[in-house]
C-alpha cells in the first residue's frame, strides 16, 4: 500500500512535530509513505472565506500530486474533509481529475477504518479531554454527532484507548464548535474568542491535563485563547499521543 502524506500548510509551518509523529507512526506500521514536496494547502481557508475560485488551482495541484497513491493521509480532519467533500465540486465534472479526493483520509479514520489498528506500543500516562472537531464529526464521521439518533461511536476514543496509561474523557457538549472556523476567527473575533473560551473551560472542567484532537487548527485556536486568558492546560495532537512511548 503506497501512502501519500499530506501535511497541511499550517501544520507544516506551526506544528511540524505533528507531521513528524504522523510519518513515524505510519512507517512504524510498515507502510510505504511518501511526502510529495511540492504540496502546500488544500484551499479551505480561501473557500470558507468566500474565495473558492482561488482554491481551484490548489485542488488541481493537490490532485496531480496525490492521485497516484492508494491513500492520502492527513493529520488534520478539517483539511481532509475539505479535500474529500469540496474538491470534487471545485474541479467540476468536466475535468476528469480529482481522483485524490476520494482517497484522502484523516489519520484517525485511516488507522481505525482502513488499517483497523488493534494495538499500538504507545504509553501516555495522562488524563486527556478529547476535542471532537466539527468537520471530523459531521463531515468525516469520526464520531456520532450528538444531534443525531444513530448508534454512538467515537473513533478517536477507540484509538486512544489503545494507549497504555491514558485516561480519556470528553467535555460537556462533546461536539460543540470551538469557534475557530478559519477566517471566521478573524472576522467574528468576539464570538470566536468566546466560543473558544467556553470550550476550553469545558475541557478543563473534566480535570484533564491535555486537550487532544485530530485537528491542529482547533487546538491552535483554543491554545491561543487559553494562553491569552492565562488558563493552564496543555494541547497535543492525537498523532503525538499515539507515538508517545516510555
Amino acid at each position: 500500500m503506497k501512502i501519500g502524506l499530506f501535511v497541511p500548510c499550517y501544520v507544516d509551518a506551526l506544528y511540524p512535530e505533528v507531521g513528524v509523529s504522523t510519518l513515524k507512526l505510519l512507517r512504524s506500521l510498515g507502510l510505504d509513505v511518501e511526502y510529495p514536496e511540492r504540496q502546500t494547502c488544500c484551499g479551505q481557508p480561501m473557500g470558507n472565506a468566500g474565495f473558492e475560485k482561488m482554491a481551484v488551482p490548489l485542488a488541481k495541484k493537490y490532485d496531480e500530486l496525490f492521485r497516484s497513491y492508494d491513500y492520502v493521509v492527513a493529520p488534520s480532519a478539517s483539511c481532509a474533509a475539505y479535500v474529500r467533500c469540496f474538491h470534487p465540486q471545485l474541479l467540476g465534472a468536466k475535468d476528469k481529475v480529482c481522483e485524490a479526493a476520494g482517497k484522502t483520509v484523516d489519520l484517525v479514520e485511516f488507522l481505525h477504518d482502513i488499517l483497523k489498528v488493534e494495538s499500538l506500543p504507545a504509553y501516555f500516562p495522562h488524563k486527556v479531554s478529547v476535542h471532537n472537531s466539527c468537520h471530523g464529526v459531521r463531515e468525516l464521521g469520526l464520531s456520532s454527532p450528538s444531534e443525531r439518533n444513530i448508534p454512538r461511536f467515537n473513533k478517536i476514543i477507540d484509538l486512544l484507548r489503545l494507549v497504555e496509561g491514558i485516561e480519556v474523557v470528553e467535555p460537556e457538549r462533546p461536539d460543540e464548535c470551538c469557534g475557530f472556523g478559519g477566517m471566521f476567527s478573524v472576522e467574528e473575533t468576539a464570538v470566536s474568542a468566546r466560543m473558544g473560551l467556553d470550550k476550553v473551560r469545558r475541557h478543563m472542567a473534566t480535570g484533564a491535563e491535555y486537550i487532544t484532537g485530530p485537528d491542529s487548527s482547533c487546538l491552535m485556536h483554543m491554545q491561543g485563547v487559553a494562553e491569552k486568558q492565562g488558563l493552564g492546560i496543555k494541547f497535543i495532537h492525537v498523532a503525538q499521543i499515539l507515538t508517545s512511548t516510555r
Binding site: M46, A49, R138, E147, G181, V191
Partner: protein
Amino acid sequence: MSTQHSKAAAAYLRDEAVVTRHDQTFFAVRQKRDRMAQALPEWEQLRETADQIKRHTATHLAQYLEQFEANATRNGVHVHWAADAAEYNSIVYDILRSHDVKKVVKSKSMLTEECHLNSSLEAKGIEVVETDLGERILQMMQLAPSHIVMPALHVHREDIGDCFRSKIADYDEIAKGYAAISPEPHDENDPTFLTYVARMHLRRQFMEAGAGMTGANFGVAATGDVVVCTNEGNADMSTSIPRLHIVSMGIEKLIPDLSSLAVFQRLLARCGTGQETTVYTSQFRGPRPGGEMHIILVDNGRSEILGNPEHWQTLKCMRCGACMNTCPVYRRSAGYSYTYFIPGPIGINLGMLRNPKTYSDNVSACSLCCSCDNVCPVRVDLSSQVYRWRQQLDSLGRADEMKKFMSGGMSLLFNHPLFYKLALRLSPLVNWLPSSLLNSRFNPWASGHKMMKFPKKSFHELWKKL
C-alpha cells in the same frame, strides 16, 4: 472591515453573564430536542421522509396550491392570493374594513412580521393585539422578536413586570384577583403571576376583538385544511370567539395530505421546543357557524426562491427554530445581532434570498460547524448554503477586504511552492516582531488569542532527515 453582525455581536458579548444565560437557555432547548430525537427509533427516517415530502411538494407546488384552493373554496373559505407584502397587507385591510373591524387579535405569524402587517394596519386605525405571550410582551415593549419560536426569551422578568405595570390599564384589579386565588405572597415579577396578568389582559382582548388572525403551520392540499400549533391556545381563543378568521399562509406551507401532516406534526414541536407535541394542534376546515374564514396565500419572493438551484431548499423550512438553538454563534450573539428579522442559520439564508446586498452582513455569522444541518427536521443544507453565499459576496461587492487580501496572499503563496518554502523558512521571524505590532488592530487574531510561536524548522525542512 467588520460586518454589522460581528460588531453587534462584539457589543453584546461585553456582558459575559448575559451571554452565558442566553447560551444556556437555548442550549437547554437543543438538549430537550436531543432527548426527543433519541426517544424515537424512527427519528432519522422521519426526517428523511419529511425532507422527501417537502422536496416533492415544493417541486409540485402549483398543482398543490390549486388543489388546496379548490378544496378550501368548497369548504366555504374565501381564498386570496398575494404576490407581495403590499398586496397582502391591502387584502387584510380590505377584509377588516368590509367587516368594520376596529380591533384584531392575532396569534404568532412570522409571515406577518415579514410583511410588516401590524404597522400597516395600525397606520389605518386598526388596533392589532398580539396574543402569544412572548409576542405581546415584545409588542408592548416595542421590541422585535429575537427568535422565531421563543421570541422574548431574552427579555428579563423585571422588565416585563415594569412593562405590564405601566401599560396594562387594569393591572391593579387583575393583581387583586390573583391574590384571591393565590393568597401566598409572591414576587411582583414572578413568571406565574405575570402570566396570569397577561391571561386576564388578553382574555379581554379576545372578547372585544372583531377578527382573529392566525398564521398556518401547514396547509393540507387534499382537504383544504389549515393547521395551527400553539401551546398557549391563543390561536384557538383568537378564532373561537371573534366570528371572522383570517389565515396568512406562505405558499411553501403546503403539504399533500393528512398522512404527511402526521410526519410534520411529530417533528415540529420535538425539534422546535423539545416537546412531544404542542398543547394544541388545531385543524381549520371552514368557517364557524355564522362566521367567515379567509385564507391569504402569500408569495412575496417564494416562487423566485424555487428557481434558485443553490438555495431552493430553504422552501422546505417549517420555521421550528431548531437551527437557532443549536447554532453556537446565535447562542452567543443573540437575535438582534443579525440584520434580518429571522436570525440564525435559516435567517442568514432567508435574508440573502430577500436581498443579498442588504442582508449580506449576516453571512459572517457562521463557523461552518454544520450542527444546524443535523438538527433540521427537513434536512435543509443550511451550512452549505452559507458557504455558497460567501462565494457570491465578492461579485456582489460585499466581500470583506481584509479576508480578500488574506486569501489573495495565501493564494499567491500556496500556488508557488518556492515562495511557500521561503515563507516557511522566514516564518520564525514572526516570533521576533515587537508585540506592539502583533497586538495591533491590524492583527484581529490577537484580539482573542495569544500569538502562536513559529517553530525553528517547518515540516518541509524536517522530513528529509526522518
